[in-house]
């Protein structure tokens, strides 16, 4: 597992690049094996991973609680959707860049009043933001398409990729897989950026601001600028993730970004592990296959999926998981993994000590 070393804290950017490239290549290879339905799910999970990376950075590393990231997602998605609606021929990479920038700007707007706030005030403030953003979108329906949203379908599968497929459903399969591959590659790029950001000078300053803001200030860290930067980064990641998410759904509409999406994001982040890179990926994977997971649990417990209880099973399971993780394993799955490695390490040390004696 030498190539995974690049994800460790002390490693340099080139090693990190290799590690991320290998991981992305593995994920791309997997899309060739998965059926089209699973590929579509994977694409959604990759988009969510990008959002969780930003959220994990904001909550885990800068210590600022946000329940507004579904709002930032909506801003990015609408920016991309509205642009693509008027300029259909724009290359996708430019649309995504636009979503990232506009998402980041919305983060700046929210951050200016919010970085003065702590804990619950901040959580409530960001919650109010995400509650206000979708009604706002509905209000300007001439631009945003109101309840029905805008069609956002500028994704075209290139010819050479089409040719890899044959058979009856060649086009559908190719499209599903191209979407997944594109999403995975975008997630890979953002993962690499975030990995560097986590371990950069700013990232270290951010942790100091979180743990001891007075000490940080004495060291010459500008508190409000650092906190604002954290918000802007998280919001631009959310904006990009939201745009990608809407592209996968082929529409941008208010109901994609309900208040409960913020809860889902929080659950996935806590479940994966707050403030860890691997946790964001774990969260994304859990999201991808949560519908399968829920239907599996439904069939295990004999609940009729068409019944009222079956339809709400996902909400119940996610909520219970969030509560249990926070009560019993607050560092999430990634935290448990780290703990297991440390435990094995300390056992090995103990064993070698006994040999000496």
């Amino acid at each position: 597992m030498r190539w995974l070393r690049g994800l460790r804290r002390q490693e340099t950017t080139p090693t990190r690049l290799i590690s991320v490239a290998v991981l992305t290549a593995v994920a791309l290879a997997i899309t060739f094996i998965l059926p089209p339905v699973a590929n579509s799910q994977l694409a959604g999970g990759a988009a969510i991973t990008i959002v969780i990376l930003g959220l994990s950075w904001l909550i885990g590393w800068s210590g600022q609680i946000s329940l507004g990231n579904s709002g930032f997602m909506a801003v990015g998605a609408y920016a991309a959707g509205i642009w693509a609606h008027h300029h259909a021929t724009t290359p996708l990479i430019f649309t995504f860049a636009l979503a990232t920038v506009v998402g980041g700007l919305s983060g700046l707007v929210v951050a200016i009043p919010s970085t003065r706030l702590r804990g619950p005030y901040l959580a409530g403030m960001t919650l109010a933001f995400s509650a206000a953003i979708t009604p706002l979108a509905q209000n300007f329906s001439s631009v945003t398409g109101g309840e029905g949203g805008i069609f956002f379908n500028t994704l075209t599968t290139p010819g050479w990729f089409q040719h890899l497929f044959s058979g009856v459903d060649a086009t559908i399969n190719a499209n599903a897989q191209w979407t997944a591959d594109l999403a995975v590659m975008t997630a890979g790029v953002t993962f690499f950026i975030m990995a560097n950001l986590f371990h950069s000078r700013t990232g270290r300053a951010m942790r100091l601001v979180r743990d001891n803001d007075v000490a940080a200030e004495l060291m010459g860290v500008n508190l409000s600028r650092t906190r604002t930067f954290a918000f802007v980064v998280a919001a631009s990641f959310a904006g990009l993730g939201g745009a990608l998410f809407s592209l996968i759904n082929a529409t941008v509409r208010p109901e994609t970004f309900p208040l409960t999406l913020s809860i889902t994001l929080l659950t996935l982040m806590v479940l994966g592990g707050i403030g860890t890179l691997s946790g964001a990926v774990i969260g994304g994977i859990v999201y991808s296959f949560s519908t399968n997971l829920v239907s599996h649990i439904n069939s295990l417990t004999g609940v009729n999926p068409a019944s009222n209880l079956g339809a709400n099973m996902q909400g119940i399971i996610f909520g219970v998981l969030l509560i249990l993780t926070m009560l019993f394993a607050p560092r999430g799955i990634a935290g448990l993994g780290i703990k297991a490695v440390n435990l094995r390490h300390s056992r090995a040390v103990l064993a070698s000590d006994e040999n000496v004696n």
Partner: protein
């Protein structure tokens, strides 16, 4: 006089006050919990909604409206007490994000369970008051017997809570354990019990808000308290999370603001009005209007 009462300005004042008292109650319930346990209860609205479902659906079984109201409050209080015991007590002394996350998760569970039991269809709870507006000189005044009942009930509840805190032995113990838990414990106050009672009290107040909301034209459905919770939180933050008086004033401010935004701009941007007030207030006083400024310990 009658032309004054029927003017659109007064209609908006009445509408804003009617909505504002609901926000005030939610804000007050948040402040009670915040004062006693320093937890912002994100599931407050959902807990109250659940209690209202349990209580008010007994109307279908032939129970009278008033017994259902009392049942809702009792169920709400029990629910609040159990929640504090089971979910919040293990988290005292943990980072402040932990209880926030747990209560956000609880919110999701309650709404999903409620939808699973009662479906998401809105149902009407018939209050024993007419919802038809009064008329003055042939024109409508935006006041109905129900709205008057709603305002009076809210004011009575607020006065009861104030009286409890100010004039009773229990209120004194509650205030003591919120202000100085260690000293209160030394003086023989059962602080842990006070925390549970604080949560019960808060959940009871929240249930009243949910009952009023469900009895009006809004109806009862699993997410009906979401928007009200956000507005109630904004109200509490505007007034200052430490100040019950601030919570009530904040609720009225937000209710009136939303009503005027709704009337003069568009209903769908009403939540934005509350948020702008919040931003404006917090820019000037980060801990709300009515709170004493606190010095932060280094």
């Amino acid at each position: 006089m009658s032309s004054f009462l029927t003017s659109s300005f007064m209609s908006n004042i009445f509408g804003g006050l009617a909505q504002g008292v609901i926000y005030s109650l939610v804000a007050l319930s948040l402040v009670i919990i915040w004062q006693s346990t320093h937890v912002l209860n994100f599931a407050q609205g959902a807990m109250a909604m659940f209690a209202t479902y349990v209580g008010m659906t007994q109307i279908d079984r032939g129970l009278s409206y008033w017994w259902c109201v009392i049942l809702s409050v009792v169920v709400g209080m029990a629910f609040g007490g159990i929640t504090e015991r089971v979910l919040i007590r293990p988290l005292y002394g943990k980072p402040e994000i932990n209880p926030i996350v747990v209560m956000v998760g609880f919110l999701g569970v309650i709404e999903a369970v409620t939808t699973a039991i009662w479906t998401s269809t809105s149902r009407n709870i018939a209050a024993p008051f007419s919802q038809i507006y009064f008329k003055a000189g042939g024109k409508l005044v935006l006041l109905s017997p129900f709205i008057i009942f709603q305002i009076i009930l809210a004011v009575v509840i607020m006065m009861l809570v104030a009286a409890l805190f100010r004039f009773t032995r229990l209120g004194l113990q509650l205030r003591a354990s919120a202000l100085a838990p260690e000293v209160a414990r030394l003086l023989g106050v059962r602080v842990n019990r006070m925390l549970t009672i604080g949560w019960m009290l808060s959940a009871g107040v929240g249930s009243i808000a949910a009952v009023i909301l469900a009895s009006g034209s809004f109806g009862l459905f699993p997410t009906n308290m979401d928007g009200v919770f956000v507005a109630g939180f904004i109200a509490a933050a505007v007034g200052g999370l430490d100040s019950p008086v601030g919570a009530i004033a904040g609720g009225l401010i937000i209710g009136l603001t939303e009503q005027f935004v709704l009337a003069y701009w568009s209903p769908s941007v009403a939540p934005l009005g509350g948020m702008i007030v919040l931003v404006a207030v917090l820019m000037i006083r980060p801990h709300g209007i009515f709170t004493r400024s606190v010095s932060r310990r280094v």
